[in-house]
């Protein structure tokens, strides 16, 4: 018997909110132990050089210094990486970017560690630096890694693009560029470790704790069970908080010295050495009929992979899969490349490569519409993915395709609101952009596992390895369990982010926690409910199928007065020798994109969205105000209303930065603006009013029909803003960030 949902869709307060509001939430930087050592890393000031000799003698005898470590002190594997293990924890042969770690100092105080680092000298033999992917891919380029400079090179081929060009009546070709962007989490990052005998425990913010755990065990040359990784509260991730981080160095120093240790990233260090969003150059061609039907698209993209591979493969794969946008196009050809350079490392950031390709495909849609004198909504509605459509990877979509509805909602809202009339030098216009986004890691069949136990009191303990990085996953999991087991959220205790206690429920990335991990949590709850219901049926001497569960327990509709409480059901289970515990295991049905053609069904479900941006452009100064943003997102099913809205509002803010202000300026491998005073993330004065118009096209394989929204929400923002700026000024800009200085120059030239 199904009952109406009690908690699903509600703005349930976050489970961690009281701690966070009262300053009681503990982040890695807040953790300390008596006798703790403080760590600092000496980093390369060269973009590319061979290490000849490292002089640490003066540092070793500096007062307060306890140990100085170089590559030769690493007991295990001195290489880390998600797909290719190419990144040294402490460089041995070469340094490959400005910020590459070379020496680790452990001292009694931060000041002593900082002073000692200054006393170390490294003899280098400088090598030619390579600072663009184009230069890296030149035939005579110096090799950054032994394997060469090609990091990713893959293709997607559907139909025959040349045939589309032959049949087309309009062909539009443009080149788009996006900048290198920093996650800029407010928490720059820290790690703390202890060592007891040969067991190392490390506290570190990590969006993928189980991967970091494996890397640290390998680094120390220890079996995984000798390392315990615990994730405290995380001060923002957005794709960061994974891979080589302070926790790795704390683990190494504690293992070597047998003392607790702590390392904290300075803001500048965080900017220099954590991974960045890839800069892309995308050569994009659209071939269409005069009636607006798109016959084919071709996208040739090259991106800057930086000094180490990290997850460039996933970023470029995502970009490739989504390059054609949320449209059914018979002929598609995509080439997605990333090259090693001597620039800072690039990796995952909210949306991976999809926000970059969305700038291209959504600008092209508006250019095509303008060329054909069509309405931007009409051309999107005409080509948009609908039930039964085939994506560019040849995946047939049958369920949960809310694109049309998102377009209609934004269209309706924009026409209801209207466009402000020009005011002085300011001109206003709306712009629109759509997107689709595959939920989860492309082609990953790795199951998400969660475990749920009932206590003797009839409460529940949920074990989930996945970490809440701020987005609210812990609250969402609690709501799902409470919904299935018909109890108050307060009855559920969550154990999360601890490799000794939790199963691997999956990474807090690829927008998969709601859909994949959430589904495994729902299955664990359903499996536990089945066990408890069977026990209750035995007590009531009724068939278990007929029982109903509410807050007071199980009962049979024929006799609602007789109840079996959760505690009684647990007791009965135990008397039968059964454990009141269950597991949930879920992996979406997916296939890896084919190596040659990119064809396959890489994602179990797709999110859809359309955003409309109202901008006001000052025609004299080039200043752009994003006044309003209307965001319609098909999320499958809302689990937590505040959570969904919060993801959209935060993404829009990040998208405004991506479109208008944010870019790491990198010259000869050096980041020129690592500080918040020079790298401009939006403040409260820079963000638009955001209206979330939610669409719930339920996904049958998701928990209660939910899909995910964390990354999808940033994808259409920048192109919607650029399309609005074009509508207001007549200037089509194909490169972001479009700063007010750049727009001023363009307005002046006009």
């Amino acid at each position: 018997m199904t009952e109406p949902c009690q908690l699903i869709g509600m703005p349930v307060p976050r489970v961690d909110i009281l701690n966070k509001l009262q300053g009681k939430a503990s982040y890695a930087e807040d953790i300390s132990f008596p006798g703790m050592l403080y760590l600092k890393v000496l980093r390369s000031d060269r973009p590319h050089a061979r290490i000849l000799k490292i002089h640490t003698e003066k540092a070793e005898v500096h007062p307060g210094v306890v140990a100085v470590f170089t590559a030769k002190d690493i007991p295990g594997r001195n290489r880390v990486g998600l797909t290719i293990k190419d990144q040294p924890v402490l460089c041995d042969d070469k340094v490959r970017f400005i910020g590459d770690p070379v020496v680790l100092v452990a001292a009694e105080t931060v000041q002593a560690a900082e002073a000692a680092v200054q006393l170390i000298r490294i003899d280098y033999d400088d090598l030619p630096g390579i600072f663009s992917p184009e230069a890296a891919l030149a035939p005579d380029a110096a090799k950054i890694h032994e394997t060469g400079n090609v990091l990713v090179d893959r293709k997607l081929i559907k139909g025959d693009f040349e045939q589309a060009v032959e049949q087309a009546e309009v062909v539009i070709r443009n080149t788009y560029r996006t900048g290198t962007v920093h996650h800029a989490c407010l928490e720059s990052g820290a790690g703390v470790a202890t060592c007891d005998g040969d067991k190392v425990t490390v506290w570190m913010p990590s969006k993928e704790l189980f991967t970091d755990h494996q890397e640290i065990a390998a680094l120390l040359g220890l079996p995984p069970e000798n390392v315990r990784a615990i994730c405290p509260e995380v001060g923002g991730a957005f794709g960061d908080k994974r891979g080589l981080a302070p926790g790795y160095y704390a683990a190494l120093a504690s293992f070597k010295t047998k003392r607790p240790s702590k390392m904290v990233f300075s803001r500048e260090e965080c900017s220099l050495v954590t991974v960045k969003r890839h800069a892309f150059t995308i050569d994009y061609t659209t071939a269409a009929k005069k009636d607006g039907r798109i016959l084919g698209v071709k996208a040739d993209m090259v991106s800057d992979g930086g000094a180490y591979a990290f997850n460039s493969f996933a970023v470029l794969t995502k970009a490739m899969i989504h390059a054609a946008g949320p449209y059914e196009i018979p002929h598609v050809f995509v080439r997605a490349r990333a090259a090693y350079t001597n620039n800072p490392i690039t990796g995952a950031m909210r949306g991976l490569g999809v926000p970059a390709v969305a700038l291209a495909h959504e600008s092209q849609m508006d250019i095509l519409a303008e060329t054909l004198k069509m309405d931007p909504f009409e051309i999107r509605l005409k080509n948009g993915l609908k039930p039964g459509a085939l994506t560019a990877t040849g995946q047939r979509l049958d369920n949960s395709i809310g694109l049309t509805e998102t377009l209609e909602k934004v269209q309706g809202e924009i026409s209801r609101r209207g466009t402000p009339v020009p005011n002085g030098s300011k001109r206003y216009s709306w712009g629109v952009a759509s997107m689709f986004y595959g939920i989860g890691v492309p082609g990953s069949a790795k199951p998400s596992i969660s475990q749920l136990e009932a206590t003797d009191a009839g409460d529940f303990v949920l074990f989930v390895g996945s970490v809440d990085v701020g987005q609210g996953s812990s609250t969402l999991f609690t709501q799902i369990v409470a919904e299935v087991l018909r109890c108050e959220a307060e009855k559920i205790r969550l154990i999360t982010g601890d490799t000794d206690r939790c199963p691997n429920t999956g990474s807090s990335g690829a927008s998969q926690l709601t859909y994949v991990a959430g589904r495994s949590v729902q299955m664990a709850a359903q499996n536990l409910k089945t066990l408890l219901q069977r026990a209750a049926a035995a007590i009531l001497a009724k068939p278990e199928e007929g029982l109903v569960l509410d807050r007071e327990g199980f009962y049979h509709p024929a006799n609602p007065g007789r109840r079996v409480s959760m505690a009684q059901a647990v007791k009965r289970l135990k008397e039968e020798g059964l454990s009141p515990a269950a597991e949930g295991r879920f992996a979406p049905e997916v296939t890896l994109p084919d190596k040659e053609t990119g064809q396959g069904a890489p994602n179990g479900t797709y999110a859809f969205a359309t955003q409309g941006a109202l901008v006001g452009v000052d025609m004299d100064s080039g200043e752009v105000e994003v006044v309003s943003l209307v965001a319609s997102h098909d999320v499958g099913r809302i689990i937590n209303l505040h959570g969904v809205e919060g993801q959209i509002e935060g993404s829009v803010s990040m998208g405004v930065g991506y479109a208008l202000t944010e870019e790491l300026v990198i010259k000869e491998g050096a980041i020129k603006n690592p500080r918040f005073g020079e790298y401009f993330i939006p403040t409260a004065l820079d963000v638009p009013e955001v209206a979330s118009l939610l669409v719930e096209a339920a996904e049958p394989s998701g928990p209660f029909g939910a899909k995910g929204v964390g990354e999808p929400a940033i994808v259409p923002t920048a192109p919607a803003i650029l399309n609005a700026i074009h509508a207001a000024t007549g200037i089509r800009v194909k490169e972001i960030p479009l700063t007010s200085e750049k727009l001023w120059m363009l307005l002046k030239k006009r």
Binding site: P11, P13, R14, D16, I17, L18, N19, K20, L21, Q22, G23, K24, A25, S26, Y27, E29, D30, H183, A184, C185, L186, E187, S188, E233, V234, G235, G236, A237, F238, S266, R267, V469, G470, Q471, G472, H642, G643, E645, G646, E649, G650, S651, V652, S653, M654, R675, F676, G677, I681, P682, T683, A684, L685, V687, E689, V690
Partner: protein, 157 residues
């Protein structure tokens, strides 16, 4: 050197080196970890505390400058028993995500509302514009501050 100040209503006295920053005094000497350090140069506002009722970035102020001052950190905002109306409004509006900016936001909001109990949206935005938040896009924070203003007005009748 010796400094004395009232922190969250409690008199404290400590011997400190002259270059001790207020944030380190609060976190390390007093063990109040709710005040966060985001950038160490006054740009992000995560370390905001109230000094004699004014919002200041504690990462830029030497602790000795707070000698004799009244300091309020996030730990002192709520009464023993219940949340401050600003905290309650943040809870109801869903204005918290990762939480790293939250302490500073709450204190900037308090400084604003203490001075201007009926701020407009623009005044709220201006009042918290020195506090960066990467998660929320500020939408729910701005709403929360307005809700808090309403709650405080009601409490005062």
């Amino acid at each position: 050197m010796k400094v004395r100040m009232r922190v969250n209503g409690n008199q404290v006295e400590r011997e400190i080196p002259p270059d001790r920053l207020l944030i380190d005094f609060i976190r390390e000497d007093l063990g109040l970890m709710g005040t966060k350090e985001g950038c160490s140069e006054g740009e992000c506002g995560a370390c905001t505390v109230l000094m004699n009722g004014k919002a200041v970035v504690s990462c830029l102020i030497p602790a000795f400058r707070a000698d004799g001052a009244e300091i309020l950190t996030v730990e002192g905002v709520a009464d023993e028993a219940k949340l401050h109306p600003i905290q309650q409004a943040f809870l109801e509006a869903g204005a918290v995500q990762c939480g790293y900016c939250t302490s500073g936001m709450v204190l900037s909001a308090k400084a604003l509302l203490d001075e201007n109990p009926e701020p407009t949206v623009e005044e709220v935005k201006k009042g918290i514009s020195g506090n960066l938040c990467r998660c929320t896009g500020y939408t729910k924070i701005i709403r929360a501050v307005q809700m808090a203003a309403e709650k405080i007005r009601k409490e005062r009748g």
